[in-house]
Symmetry: C2
Subunit: 649 residues, 2 copies
């Protein structure tokens, strides 16, 4: 039977009983689905315009919407030809997200090839060496490899082992271009312990092209950079959604999906497919053939890494949260479905713990936290919240169970920072009328993380919500009302939106945000307290991650998400995962330091860390129950604003 | 169109234009074909009993035979349904060859596990170590690999790297049998330079089964032994033909075939298929599953090694005879089509030169020539003739271009030592009537190597051929006659044979044998002269190879194939390739010595070696032009025999 997805006009042949969500994935149509098809999140709303599906009803859909054909795609089974419309808020918006995220990716240039060269540490893991030899004679008929080794020795290279494929290709390579070959050499981290691996031989001189690709394997997006290993130049950067999104928006729902029959394999293929899409775009943009790439480096969180490698992820989610491994050996890119030549290895960043992964390690390496004397707080605010505290002598890390609020998860009208997302907001304390700015400056569809923070901060300063996050329903504006989920504030009336429904911020939303930011702040405090330090000792705060990029620091401090410190102590690095991934391709000395970072880091499971629960409870307040000491300036401003309101009111 | 092969009753659907030989190979019917389908050797005679084929005519087929439907299978194109009979002399005789060769394989037990244990060198390359651990807790949620490393350290094991697949399987393995796993560890040759590779993890305790398979990849036959790496016990030995035979009997014709489109791939698959057949037979015989095997070792000549690995072999054949490599890294058995689990590596014996391969290195290692003070001559008389001279301080080697005469090649009625082959012979000098003994004691089909040596030796002593190899046609017996190929001796009249034709020995055959043995003897002399030594300095002669096994030493000395030395200085080792292959699986110290052997050996290309041509010319005589000094005893016996004949005549 046929299913057509509008407004895309994509039609596919579906099997009887197949779920609409599955059919959409198969058709390459993205439908937001946060919960991995469990029917819990209610995000995968579609409108069945023609024909009838089985099921798909939910209490998350109002009676009017149900009558209008709205169903949950993950719960609707196909039994006849249908035409289905994917409403704007359920579809991914590539253009919008990419425009935004591109900024984040590009900021990840904190350290460049020039810096490495200055430090004498520009030593790519991969080298191409071209050598020539005299042709063999009956008096000197050494084997082809021996001849190559002798030529390499003359060129100052030694300590070799050959990959089988290089040996296999060598006889023809030597003879094709008059006894000149180019060897592609993968350097060991340490030549005293390892050996130079000849991974490829090519006829003639191909040493001009020495390319690597650095990959950031994110839960939501995948980014890749093409690097010229001769110059260190970044030839291009591309990104795209991780197609795994179709199977669940966060790592937990992906792990759940991986547990279904064939689930792990599908997730692996989805990730590899998305990486390939990015690589292809990158190749097109930079006019390079994928076959010219000789090395890949990859950083991702622990779940993304295990899913990409097809390693059972369920123990990451089950207490006591055990990853399969910290370190993986270099793996053959093509073994995992990447469209790269067979000789290309992928260097994978090691993980510290189930929820402190290679992306964090890459970021730490990228900013050089492990070599810096200053006491630094490293915060990665992406789909998950990871926190590292320390300096060159010690590092403590933890995953904050912040939940997905910063990316729109658990927020009634939450969405990612794509087109139509409210990203900035202010409110007039007297009329309660808002000013809103959306991504792409279009009619609003929902609220993204930065918008949420702006709202709560503004509404707090305006006294429309109090420090406990409760709404002041007695406010005269009709924007404040009792909604079906409790008290709420109407941000945009239906007629002004792109979704024809009132967009509101509910007390439940605020509560979710408070839990999220509270979890983060409690993590900072707990890690610092563990070594007898306090927030005031922090000399530097590094903000990594796509969301970190778009944060308004003052507001983030106001609500207690960021510690109250002088703004100049904060640094945004954007995509730290991509930064580290690129650096490791360009610098074997840095690559050598990676395992040191992992060994140096102590991971704390916050749920059992002493003091954490107290810190968390104290943080469930705007900005904090101890605002007078931890947030003295915010404390002061709030007091002044309340006084002003009282004076005016 | 249909082709039926009799007497096997095998029928297949062939394509128009397909050659009969190709169709036979496809049908699994073996037809001897020495020249790889070039139409040169004339061995692939078949009788077209019904229907007509295109071509297949040859001057090698007599007009009578042509009229009777005899054609060359390699030259006959199929154009309609045909029934083809494969005559006995054109078919392989599995049972006969296996019976014979089994002896050769089994003698390869010169050194056993007990000897290695006595020497403290029983250290298999592969170990299985079972460890247990406490389950993880929130306080100790190290990753699964870290937990395993800690447990292995407690068990006294360190210096590890993990294969990806072992990491992948570990989470489930740990949890399946209550936190007990068995790791399969591949030891490096030297732990100071390499690391212990964890190639597999299994739940629970599977350490009881630690199996390796040693493989001798011969040009004609493939042998394998299953070894218990705990005890060193040989659990079984099996052999079979190398199915590559269908594409040519010797290495040269295989290399030629490899140059045809798809040829190399087909040869690779044929070799892998034959190894698999042997492995399956071995598994069946020993009641072991192939999935229980964890290691493979393999020795073969340089051509067989390159063909098995799919490495272009043509430069082995083209002057200046350059192999691709001496050493190959351990390769994944399953990558090359072997029916072994994915984690199984194959250790491949290194080659010295194009015609001194891993089989010779394995034999040298097996007999310990590289550690022995005695000046030793090592002779591998298989399909090719390889010669090594030296002791623990130095070794020189060469390939003698002996040609395939010892295995029946280039001999009019030559055949391998299978059922019906004349393997022993004597002649009455007066009547010229022979006594013949065949393999399997059946009617003769042809002459194998040992029979050929026996004939030439007997006929020489009887004065029926002279020291130049010329036939005494004036002998009154009608067994001596002028045949179509010149002078010949009728060994068996048609009615007494299994092939209904007179079986003869021609002067051309004798000439071919003289060239073959001359090439061998000239090789011994040239290598010895190169270091200022002579035949008389030899303290030991080691004879390896299937043919070496069946040789009658006195006769081999009589015709000048073997040097004249006291018989007690000769040792037969049978299948040295299999011997070395097995030892290397059982002893890492021996494995470490292998590269020393290769580096120690100097290869001589005899065609350009000083003195070789003189030595060769001198050897084209029975036994030698300098018989009085090099073969004083033979010289004496021949003189006595001639005197006796003269006295009687």
């Amino acid at each position: 039977m046929k299913v057509r997805f509008e407004p895309f006009g994509v039609e596919i042949e579906a099997q009887a009983g197949q779920k609409l969500l599955d059919a959409a994935l198969e058709a390459g149509v993205h439908i937001n689905a946060s919960c991995g098809g469990e029917g819990v999140c209610g995000k995968c709303r579609v409108i069945v315009e023609q024909g009838v599906v089985d099921g798909g009803l939910s209490e998350k859909i109002s009676p009017e919407d149900t009558a209008a054909g709205v169903r949950l795609a993950c719960q609707s089974a196909i039994n006849e030809d249908v035409i289905v419309r994917v409403p704007v808020e359920s579809a991914l918006d590539k253009a919008g997200l990419k425009a935004l995220a591109a900024g984040a990716a590009q900021t990840a240039t904190l350290i460049g090839a020039e810096d490495l060269k200055e430090q004498g540490r520009f030593e790519p893991a991969l080298a191409k060496v071209t050598v020539s030899a005299e042709p063999p004679t009956l008096e000197d008929n050494r084997n082809d490899v021996a001849r190559l080794l002798a030529a390499l020795k003359e060129a100052g290279e030694s300590h070799f082992v050959f990959d089988f494929e290089a040996i296999r290709d060598l006889p023809e390579a030597w003879r094709e271009v008059d006894w000149q070959v180019t060897t592609t050499i993968m350097r060991p981290v340490d030549l005293a312990k390892g050996r130079n691996h000849v991974i490829r031989v090519e006829p003639g001189d191909t040493s001009g092209r020495n390319l690597a690709v650095a990959i950031d394997l994110g839960t939501t997006t995948i980014w890749a950079q093409l690097i010229d290993l001769h110059s260190g130049e970044i030839l291009g950067t591309e990104g795209d959604f991780n197609a795994q999104i179709g199977y669940g928006e966060d790592v937990i729902s992906r792990i759940v999906y991986a547990g279904k029959p064939g689930g792990l394999k599908r997730l692996q293929e989805a990730a590899a497919g998305s990486v390939n899409d990015v690589l292809k775009a990158l190749a097109r943009r930079t006019k390079v053939e994928l076959s010219e790439i000789s090395l890949a480096t990859m950083a991702g969180n622990t779940t993304m890494t295990q899913l990409f490698l097809g390693v059972e992820p369920k123990y990451l989610r089950m207490e006591p949260y055990v990853p399969s491994a910290a370190y993986y050996p270099p793996v053959k890119a093509s073994d995992f479905g990447l469209s790269l030549p067979d000789h290309v290895s992928t260097l994978i960043f090691p993980a510290v713990a189930s929820y402190v992964g290679g992306d964090v390690v890459a970021g730490i390496m990228g900013v050089g936290m492990h070599t810096d004397e200053r006491l630094t707080l490293f915060i990665d605010l992406g789909t998950n919240g990871e926190v590292v505290v320390g300096n060159k002598d010690w590092m403590a890390c933890a995953a904050a169970s912040a939940g997905p609020a910063f990316e729109g998860g658990g927020i009634k009208f939450g969405m990612r920072a794509s087109k139509g997302a409210i990203e900035n907001f202010s409110v007039d304390p007297f009329s309660a009328e808002p000013a809103i700015i959306t991504v792409g400056r279009t009619k609003p569809k929902g609220i993204c993380g930065s918008g949420l923070i702006a709202m709560v901060a503004s509404l707090l300063m305006a006294g429309i919500i109090d420090q406990r996050g409760k709404f002041k329903l007695e406010h005269p504006s009709d924007r404040l009302r009792q909604g079906e989920d409790g008290p709420e504030y109407v941000i945009a009336w239906a007629e002004n939106t792109a979704i024809d429904r009132d967009i509101t911020l509910t007390e439940v939303d605020v509560d979710n945000l408070m839990r999220a930011k509270g979890a983060m702040y409690a993590a900072y405090m707990t890690l610092l307290e563990g070594v007898g330090l306090t927030i005031h000792d922090l000399e530097r705060v590094i903000l990594a991650g796509g969301f970190g990029q778009s944060i308004n620091l003052e507001r983030a401090i106001l609500i207690g998400l960021m510690p109250e410190l002088p703004l100049e102590r904060f640094t945004f690095i954007g995509n730290g995962s991509l930064l580290g991934s690129r650096l490791v391709a360009m610098s074997n000395p840095l690559r050598a330091e990676v395992s040191g970072i992992v060994d140096q880091m102590t991971n704390f499971e916050l749920s059992v860390a002493p003091g954490y629960m107290d810190n968390y409870t104290g943080s469930l307040f705007l900005p904090h129950t101890e605002a007078n000491t931890l947030f003295p300036e915010v404390y002061q401003r709030l007091a002044e604003a309340q006084a002003a309101l009282k004076a005016a009111g």
